[in-house]
């Protein structure tokens, strides 16, 4: 290979021309900045949901439509056009129960984000531990892990999630026993975590496998550094950006997966506001009241899209060679 030439590569004079920091690069990317803004907006909305609800004067639990005559028809559909959008109910009313759509959406962000962030945190942690350990140890551990990953990845993800949720749930809760709300969250996080860590572990394994052969790791080993030092000080700092990108990309994946499960009826239950369940309900009344499905559908699309764009931008900012 081009030994002499590579040695020159970026060969910066000292000090290197101050390349903008990743955050700076991210902000300079117009799309990335916009995506970041949208994501932050969603975060803000989630955090400020009670405040906004209080200012707006509605809450996500009350059955406005049922308790106030004239809002819903006998069949439970909003009487006003466009899903009952009015000065009182800006995004309309939920068909049937007659709850306020806007506050449902706002509180729904909290559900999505809580599960997504927790799952992303757990899978990232597991993925790092497994990927770095396996990649560094190599040998039989590595082969076993490779086999395990192949087995797990051969399973149809969605079917597995579908089938697994009730199983996990029944292992944690006796059928019929009261299920605390947090348990629903826990079940979903567990189910997502059970398999979500594999892709990260695989890609980290590959990275670490190549890092392991790099001279600086060899040097540390030859100098008598222990495994702990090598892993924590030599390897981990080098997979940091990979981790960040993965975590950013994982969040929308889990948001979408959570919505899918709720859509199929094995996710979060009433009365916790949830987008997937809203869409599921929306699909039932779609012909009569399309508005009700459009709000959560579009919100979810925006949310996931913004996160995906952000993920792309983060990757570009951290590693300008990849992607674009």
């Amino acid at each position: 290979m081009a030994v002499v030439e590579t040695a020159a590569g970026p060969a910066p004079a000292v000090p290197a021309p101050a390349a903008p920091r990743p955050l700076g690069r991210l902000l300079r990317d117009r799309v990335g900045a916009a995506a970041l803004a949208v994501v932050l907006l969603f975060l803000l909305l989630a955090l400020a949901a009670p405040l906004i609800a209080a200012l707006y004067g509605k809450n996500p639990a009350e059955h406005y439509g049922q308790n106030t005559p004239g809002l819903l028809s006998d069949g439970g559909l909003p009487v006003l056009p466009n899903g009952g959008i009015s000065g009182d109910f800006w995004f309309g009313l939920e068909p049937g129960l007659g709850r306020d759509v806007l506050t449902q959406l706002l509180y729904g962000i909290r559900t999505s984000l809580l599960i997504a962030f927790a799952s992303a945190a757990v899978t990232t942690t597991l993925g790092v531990l497994a990927g770095v350990a396996v990649g560094y140890l190599g040998g039989i551990t590595d082969r076993l892990f490779g086999f395990l990953a192949n087995v797990l990845l051969a399973f149809p993800t969605l079917l597995l999630l579908l089938a697994l949720s009730p199983v996990v749930q029944s292992r944690l809760v006796d059928p019929g026993a009261a299920e605390p709300e947090w348990m629903q969250f826990l079940v979903l996080i567990l189910v997502f975590s059970a398999f979500g860590w594999i892709p990260l572990a695989l890609s980290l394994r590959a990275t670490v496998r190549s890092l392991r052969e790099r001279d600086f790791v060899q040097s540390a080993r030859a100098q008598g550094a222990g495994r702990f030092h090598v892993v924590v000080h030599e390897l981990l700092p080098n997979v940091r950006s990979q981790l960040l990108v993965h975590a950013t990309m994982a969040v929308p994946t889990f948001v979408a997966s959570e919505a899918v499960l709720s859509f199929l009826g094995v996710g979060i239950t009433e009365p916790i506001p949830d987008w997937g369940r809203m869409i599921s309900r929306g699909s039932e009344v779609f012909q009569a009241d399309p508005t009700y499905m459009v709000f959560p559908g579009v919100a979810l699309l925006l949310f996931v899209l913004a996160f995906n764009l952000l993920g792309d931008a983060v990757r570009d900012a951290l590693d300008p060679r990849a992607g674009r």
Partner: protein
């Protein structure tokens, strides 16, 4: 009601099917069908004259063509002795015949002889029942149907694997109170001949019962009373392709996918006072999502014009269309879902104070609960334990309550209670609909000062959970039906204090009532017995053991080219055996 199964884990009673798919009733809606305060059942049993064929002609009907029948799920059973659900009863009329059956004219049902010449003659105070088979009734291979075939069919109900069917023949014929006990006396055809049924010749059956039985003519109409020919009994496979006696025979059946019926050449119209044989073929297609088949029927595209569903009801997604589009409205076939009643059951052991139960009754936000499930189209609000579909039924309302709930009245009742409960546990099926109804109840009862704690239950485990003796739920919803249109299988099973909680899910205990039940059970005449039972029902309802919610309605669709569609007053689905194609 989907026909998945009559899912009550009940030994004897009632078809008590809990609404399997979606709570009380994503089903049906009366869509304009006004509440009738009397039973649509023609009270009298048909005699020999009414039992003779052919069936009254359907006005405007013509022969020929293929009717498509769509359904998202397949019938759970086709083996006549395993069938135990209204929709399957109704569809199996196409290929199966029984001793008796309901003749339906103008939406009114009358029980007449089917294979038998009449609805049966009793002797010995109801302990002996005799049936004679008609001449000319034949199997699909042309061989005549014999009394021995009918007897063999009934013998099968004792056999292993037939627990899924109704338990009455074994119980009545052995005089045992439980099915298990009955089977210790006789365990099916492999045990040899069942002595309780005599077949003196090829045409005559004589049933001997240890106790008087008033409801034999109705039991004789159940699918269990279909003949099975010993040499054609293929065991498990019979569940897939039973040997036909009706106007059609099954020529192809790919499980869970498709079933094709063609005319049975050996069926003779003049022997059959119930069924007709207009279309050439019926093609059942399974597995299509209800919404999609409904769309297809509405649009008339892709064979939708010639189609109807077996039990898939109008999807909630299409309510609006059905309401606003006159063409679509015309294609909706509505009617009461047989004898089903939906109730909010109170666990009387856990809520022993009648005043608390009364408060619940008064505060019950029935209208909101119905609204969240689709409004009045899913059924009319109920005030009685018994369904309007029953013989000689009359409406009553012991404690009139406001449909949206009356918080003031409820609070007043609660004030009278010795001790008002801190909160009540409501167990519900963890389905989207179930969750929403739970929200309604929590919200609605809160206004009456009653705290409801909703507890979701895995849908599959629901019945076991709420019927368990030590079940921790104070309230739960149940949709159930009697097995035939007399009140005989209602109070005597479900409100007998001596029965287990699987039958008496309200855990209602009243020694007076128990005594009355014993007395009434000795009556051998159906109408007299019914009258006494209605009186007893009011006694029970004074104690408010359960809160009636609705008499569910069925809404199904038929294609624009399909004629003769109506909801069977007893079986509660569109009656396939009456259909014809307009062109």
């Amino acid at each position: 009601m989907r026909w998945t199964k009559p899912s009550l884990a009940v030994v004897a009673t009632a078809l008590l099917a809990s609404a399997c798919s979606a709570g009380a009733g994503t089903g049906p809606a009366t869509a304009g069908a006004s509440a009738k305060d009397t039973s649509p059942l023609t009270a009298a049993l048909g005699g020999e004259k009414e039992s003779a064929g052919p069936a009254p002609a359907v006005p405007g009907a013509r022969s020929g063509g293929t009717v498509n029948v769509y359904n998202s799920v397949e019938f759970r059973h086709l083996d006549p002795q395993k069938v135990y659900a209204g929709a399957a009863y109704n569809a199996s009329l196409l290929w199966g015949r029984q001793l008796t059956q309901y003749q339906v004219v103008d939406g009114k049902a009358k029980l007449v002889g089917d294979l038998a010449t009449d609805t049966g003659t009793s002797g010995d105070g109801g302990r002996t029942w005799t049936y004679r088979l008609k001449d000319g009734v034949a199997w699909e291979d042309g061989k005549p149907i014999t009394a021995q075939d009918v007897k063999y069919g009934i013998e099968r109900t004792f056999g292993k694997g037939y627990e899924v069917g109704p338990p009455y023949w074994p119980q009545w014929l052995t005089g045992e109170a439980s099915y298990e006990a009955a089977r210790t006396k006789y365990a099916g055809p492999q045990d040899g001949d069942l002595a309780a049924i005599e077949t003196p010749d090829e045409r005559t059956l004589v049933f001997h019962f240890p106790q008087p039985q008033a409801d034999v003519p109705y039991m004789a109409a159940q699918s269990s009373s279909s003949p099975v020919r010993r040499d054609k009994d293929t065991g498990t496979d019979y569940d897939r392709q039973p040997f036909a006696t009706g106007p059609y025979r099954i020529v192809e059946h790919v499980q869970n996918t498709r079933m094709v019926l063609e005319r049975n050449p050996y069926w003779k119209a003049e022997t059959d006072p119930i069924r007709s044989q207009y279309p050439d073929k019926f093609v059942f297609t399974y597995g299509k999502e209800a919404l999609n088949s409904n769309q297809e029927i509405l649009s008339g595209r892709d064979g939708g014009a010639n189609a109807t569903t077996a039990s898939d009801v109008l999807s909630p997604e299409l309510y609006q269309t059905a309401d606003t589009d006159p063409k679509a409205k015309d294609l909706v076939v509505s009617g009461r879902q047989g004898a089903f009643v939906t109730q909010l059951v109170i666990n009387n052991e856990r809520v022993p104070d009648v005043e608390v139960r009364k408060a619940l009754h008064l505060g019950y936000p029935r209208q909101q609960a119905r609204q969240v499930q689709g409004g009045s189209r899913i059924g009319e609000l109920a005030t009685t334990l018994s369904s309007p579909a029953l013989i000689d039924w009359e409406k009553y309302d012991l404690y009139p309550a406001r449909p949206e709930g009356d918080p003031e009245a409820a609070k007043a009742a609660l004030a009278k209670a010795k001790q008002a409960p801190a909160s009540l546990t409501y167990g519900y099926k963890n389905t989207p609909d179930g969750q929403r109804v739970a929200q309604v109840l929590v919200d609605g009862f809160a206004k009456s000062g009653i705290t409801i704690v909703p507890k979701p239950i895995d849908p599959k485990a629901f019945l076991d959970e709420v019927h368990r003796a030590d079940s921790p739920y104070d309230l739960f919803e149940e949709t159930s039906s009697v097995d035939w249109p007399t009140p005989s299988t209602l109070i005597p099973f479900s409100f007998d204090g001596r029965a287990g909680s699987d039958l008496n899910s309200a855990r209602y205990r009243n020694p007076e009532v128990d005594k009355e039940i014993d007395r009434i059970n000795q009556i051998g005449e159906p109408r007299a017995k019914a009258k006494e039972l209605y009186a007893l029902e009011k006694t029970v309802m004074k104690d408010v053991p359960v809160l009636p919610f609705a008499y569910p309605t069925v809404n199904q669709l038929r294609g624009s080219n399909v004629g003769g569609a109506f909801v069977h007053p007893i079986y509660g689905t569109v009656s396939l055996a009456w259909l014809y194609l307009k062109s």
